[in-house]
Subunit: 446 residues, 4 copies
């Protein structure tokens, strides 16, 4: 088969398969049909075809259930054209007018990403609801908070889980913001210079639910920023989730023993009979890097490409779909996974005061007695040093030794995790009172 | 020097230098002072310090001109504290209360990025104005438009340059959108759990010009999404510009000979006396990859990090500043560079009709006579094939040979680049009429 | 289904599919069987099984033609075990002894990569032969050589194509060097601590054709350096090829018109009837970025992973196979593609002296008359400047104007590309005499 | 200042600074002088200069102590030329003959990388010695070994640290292998086509200690594979080290409490008086991503660049030097850091048998009584499940319950970590006997 009469040689079979995007395109068949229907309507309006022709084509397209794909034809657009010609003859040969794959592929990819973004938003909200529920149920349970992955201060489970809500809320916002550029329609730009026909772009955009029309046809067929925006937002979602995976893997190690992972999503070892491994969390964590790699591949593809359309773009759909598959398969497990985690509250609370994690409270206590904080910091620093040496915990007696001049009446309230979290003030803090309010606030916005 | 009394050994000198962020921090001195002043005001409001103490500190901070940095002290925060203690004694030791570097560094980095983003926006607008001016001056000059980097159809210089305007307008929008998350204030989150003091966060945010307050202190000290957003936006700017660099490098090759680059920004060869090299464009193009690498590095840094603050974040400021330096040094040359490019209009126009670039117009012409486009496409394909074989251009005689049954009255209007561009219809197209309007539209929005 | 009796809940179906590596593993079935056969032999030697048991298992494995894969079983190892148990009963339950997937998966991946590396080397040599043939046929044809993508000096086509041979020869060397680490056998490391049985690792390594045995079982199951080495070598191959693709795309633009690409590997435009697009080269170029992304994904996966085996590694095979598919599908077209390119020698030669590309020869000519090169450089620089202003080429008359004091007898030999290339001296130069020798040298080493 | 007489306009100051590589070049001054000396010797041999001229130049170069750099001159090569002309007049103007920066910069960078690679090898060996010493001292101390970061089997500290030795030994090998391509000399390739003079490349290579001569001058000035090889090897070193950093950070968390980090390399918190943070390990871990980013940037820079020299390469030296600075500053601390870590052996040993980590030994014990391993695996799986339910450890009584039909004489030897490690067999295993031998083997090869 020759590509067209301009070519003297038949296409190489290997090249047909290398060049083909059918395996990917078939995911966009819905968008392809919508675009063709809209195109046909504008052809009618521009008086390029007649009403009966339009009707025949639309009816045929509406009647299509499954499309038999001819693998020798390089893409979905030419496949569909071919089908119509087979069915409707000459009429089918008219549709190609003012129709270039350059603007078509990017229009359809935008529509596809819009459709999928809505689905993504749905799942992130579902995830948020599950996390919120756990936060609510355990809003005043105590666990160690870490900085530099060393025990720092006691915090509440509610606070901890709400921090992930914040991240996922930002992700939601990112995906929602992406609609802005996704709503500029490239269709009608033709190859790159615009059409010789009075194609009604406003009709097109109305039919295809775009809000705006691309203002420059060279840019319209060259631009793939929206693909990067999409890959970027997915990368952030995975970045955030990878942190949770990492923590859950460590927290489920029996030395930490903070949580028991659900059997349904773990697997064992072929040689070690006792093993229960956090496979899901590990695979999720590694998929994060795959998603990053996709983003960076596409940055590297786009760099230094001359305008306008280049075949290099063909990888866009494949990258988008690979990232989507990873997203959906991962989040669909993450949601029930989180729901079924069991927490070892006792162990978490016990460890929350290890490593002198109430020292800041103690230093604040001292400062409230009139000592500048830098000095209080120094005194407590001394106490900690002493306790490490003597292998002791900070207690009333030790405080007395270092804080002779003070009354230490309430010192046991200071050296107490439950009291510590309640002393924290206002917006953002780990105080259960605030956490409760915050849970409600978030519930209302998703 | 020991870090504090909790440590038994002196710090290693090598470690002091490895751990130090002073060289980077010093760029944020302005933000550091603002934060400290706001902090002191809240300390007064919370009755932790007295009015005269507040005044002394603020006066001292206001009087500071150049800060003598002590390299043994690991960062700018402790340096400033140290200075105040030296000057004001005991009072200075009070400021550390409820003040953690964990929330401080991220607050200041957000403020810094806000400040720099405004500067970036200023320069991108400046760049846009220069490009618009060129587009306006040459709005109907003709050049070849490329797809697959093969000559495709004639377009106008105005159209070509406006396509870059579209990209830069998207970049503007990205930077402007970034303000949303940059306007959430982390300050007051303390180490990670919140403060034991009634620090007035609304006062803080008003003083520091943040619109919102972070809703979760764990997330507040953990989050670096805004750094990624910033690096991402810069990456897109460079991605777009790298395409222009690539084209200008090729266009200035004497075989293309579309443009002459300004002597002021080119250099020569030590051995080849004739050489004039597009060094600026090449360096700019390669800086694109450096900027991408920075984004990738930071993604890789953040992946799988447990909450909350980790010292790994310390690279954030350094990466941001490196990307900023690249941005400003590059755009400051790009602007005058573009302004001074000289175009070889004759050569551009001559090449605009090479490689049968008016074939689409010819096929449209045929279709307007009632032939379905797929057929017209085939006929012209045949004509092109014939011309290649005979080493001829498409002309009246050849058309006559293939299109016997048609009148070819207006065929010379079809085989004419100047007419071709004027036949393009509506929004986005290369038609000079539209380009003119579009230039005005953009001028009004920047 | 529960994973084992240690688990209380049935595995989630979604998780089974997420966790499964079967689609990938099936590529390694050959290696899996070899490993199992070798394992069984060592079990006999360690007297864990009896001779008749060994024979039964080996016979069964030898008889296997197609393996019916049970998708509920998470990988190929357990699938094969399951098959054996079904067929041989109790005997089959014995093979799992001292057999961990941790060492198995990495052993098999090494074997797989060794097998594929040999195939890669075969294809790179094939590619080299094709390029060498072109170089030989056109060893003294003249084309412009570029620096900064500006015309610099005339070079020969032979020289140009040999430069790609050098790159591919380096790639060959990289792949060959990779065998060193691929030849360390991890098998027998078991889960991570080593085996409780006297498994004869030397027997294993002999059976499986490894040269050395891993010296540390923790490292043996943790190490994936060899995967990175492989991805790195592939990345370099694509990096080199992407440069050729880029050049061929530009060279086939009709403004350059250096070469005609083979119809068999190009495609057209649905709207523009004249188009012949270098799709293959563009897709190849973009696959380069995919291959880079794979390398970086795997770097990002491995970063900061605690020892020893982590499920994150599971992506290794998938990444390797994806990169392999890209490699083979691409090189299999690249070879005939290059073979069928047609060169427009006239046009190449004509352009080789554009942009004053013989200036260095002229400056050398002047220096040979006793002028220090920096001065000669300045003089020719002046001549070029004059010619640009006057829109002239350098010729005898102009030289006379600037070089009054010299005899200019041989000046026409200097201003001649054919003579220029023959003046170049020795190893590495563009001189056809050297190129001819070099072609023979390379032919002998591949 | 104009670049040369071929340029009509003065160079822009901003461009001079953008284009300048002086800040980076100055690191290669040693190589620059060596190259110039070698060049002068070949000029003498080729009779282009006279003996007294050669001597004057060499003497001047030998007498140079500190070079006063003129920032207006764009690089070190032209700076040096300028100095010589100032000192020696006309003679200095002769040296530029047959001398191009295109081959010079890559020759010098290769020499520089060779020099630094030797230093890198020195430091990795030093690091290996420190690790070996720790391994030797604690070769039979017991710690938990992890898979999926869950406790898997007891291993020895010796075994654990030797696994890092294996990684660093591989890194050594990589750096050593890099010398092969670093030993091909590009000098004498001139701009890209070779020299018009009989420059003796063998003399050059002998003087500059290269083993081989580049076989293709186009490739010689285009090739930067050796830069990627270098960045790749550094990336692997950091990858390996990042895993150790990650483990040490977790191991020093007081819940694990496996080790105490040296005070000298840790720092505290401005607000939390008790904190001792593993800053060094965290910064090292994040530098890993910077090093990866550098590699990625350079891949992205090189992709699709046409031959031969492009100014894009200028980033090579800057990237190399940044990666080198990170390497040296990091390893110089890593070495004393590791040396000073204190191990909490008791805690490590105690945790080594947590989470039923001797289950594999138990299953092996059962199999040795004649039960196929898959069954033994099932039995122990049952025991573990029972113990989890009952919150018990595996002991004699529980075993009796599940293994009625067996004599359990030696069962306490099975349920014992110290015995477990000694049961492991042969090369690579955690058995202290083997570890001891292995330490000696490695000591002998570094």
């Amino acid at each position: 088969m020759k590509w067209s009469k301009r070519f003297k040689k038949n296409l190489s079979k290997k090249f047909i398969s290398y060049n083909s995007s059918l395996n990917i395109d078939r995911n966009l068949i819905k968008e392809e049909i919508s675009c063709l229907k809209a195109h046909v309507k504008t052809l009618l309006k521009a008086k390029i075809i007649k009403n009966f022709e339009k009707k025949k084509i639309i009816n045929f397209l509406d009647s299509l259930k499954k499309i038999n794909i001819n693998k020798k034809i390089e893409d979905i657009h030419l496949n569909l054209e071919n089908l119509i010609i087979k069915k409707l003859g000459e009429i089918g040969k008219k549709i190609r007018i003012s129709r270039s794959r350059n603007d078509l592929v990017t229009t359809e990819l935008k529509m596809f990403i819009k459709r999928k973004t809505n689905k993504i938003i749905f799942y992130i909200k579902k995830l948020l609801k599950v996390i919120l529920k756990i936060a609510k149920k355990n809003y005043k349970k105590i666990m160690p908070g870490f900085t530099h992955f060393q025990i720092a201060q006691p915090v509440t489970l509610g606070h901890y889980f709400l921090s992930y809500c914040e991240m996922y809320l930002r992700d939601l916002k990112k995906f929602e913001n992406n609609f802005y550029f996704l709503n500029f329609m490239p269709l009608g730009s033709c190859a790159l210079a615009g059409s010789n026909y009075k194609i009604d772009k406003f009709l097109l955009s109305k039919e295809l639910k775009f809000k705006y029309i691309c203002r420059n046809s060279i840019d319209a067929v060259s631009d793939r920023d929206y693909v990067l925006d999409f890959l970027y937002a997915i990368s952030l979602f995975f970045l955030h989730s990878s942190r949770m995976c990492e923590e859950f893997i460590i927290f489920s190690n029996k030395i930490f023993n903070f949580l028991d992972l659900p059997d349904e999503f773990c697997s064992g070892s072929s040689i070690m009979p006792q093993k229960k491994n956090p496979d899901f969390l590990e695979i999720f964590r590694s998929k994060t890097s795959i998603v990053f790699g996709n983003l960076f591949s596409f940055f590297s593809i786009m760099k230094s490409l001359p305008l306008s359309y280049n075949k290099d773009y063909q990888e866009d759909k494949s990258i988008v779909i690979k990232s989507l598959e990873i997203f959906f398969s991962s989040i669909k497990i993450l949601i029930p996974f989180i729901k079924k985690i069991k927490f070892n509250f006792k162990n978490m609370e016990k460890n929350s005061t290890k490593d002198f994690s109430l020292s800041t409270d103690l230093a604040d206590y001292i400062s409230k007695k009139g000592i500048p904080y830098k000095k209080s910091h120094g005194i407590v620093s001394n106490i900690v040093s002493y306790c490490i040496k003597k292998k002791k915990k900070i207690d009333y007696n030790i405080c007395k030794k270092f804080l002779k001049k003070f009354g230490l009446k309430n010192i046991n309230n200071v050296l107490n995790a439950k009291k510590s979290i309640r002393k924290k003030k206002g917006i953002g803090s780990t105080n259960p009172k605030f956490i409760k309010k915050e849970i409600n606030r978030i519930k209302n916005i998703i």
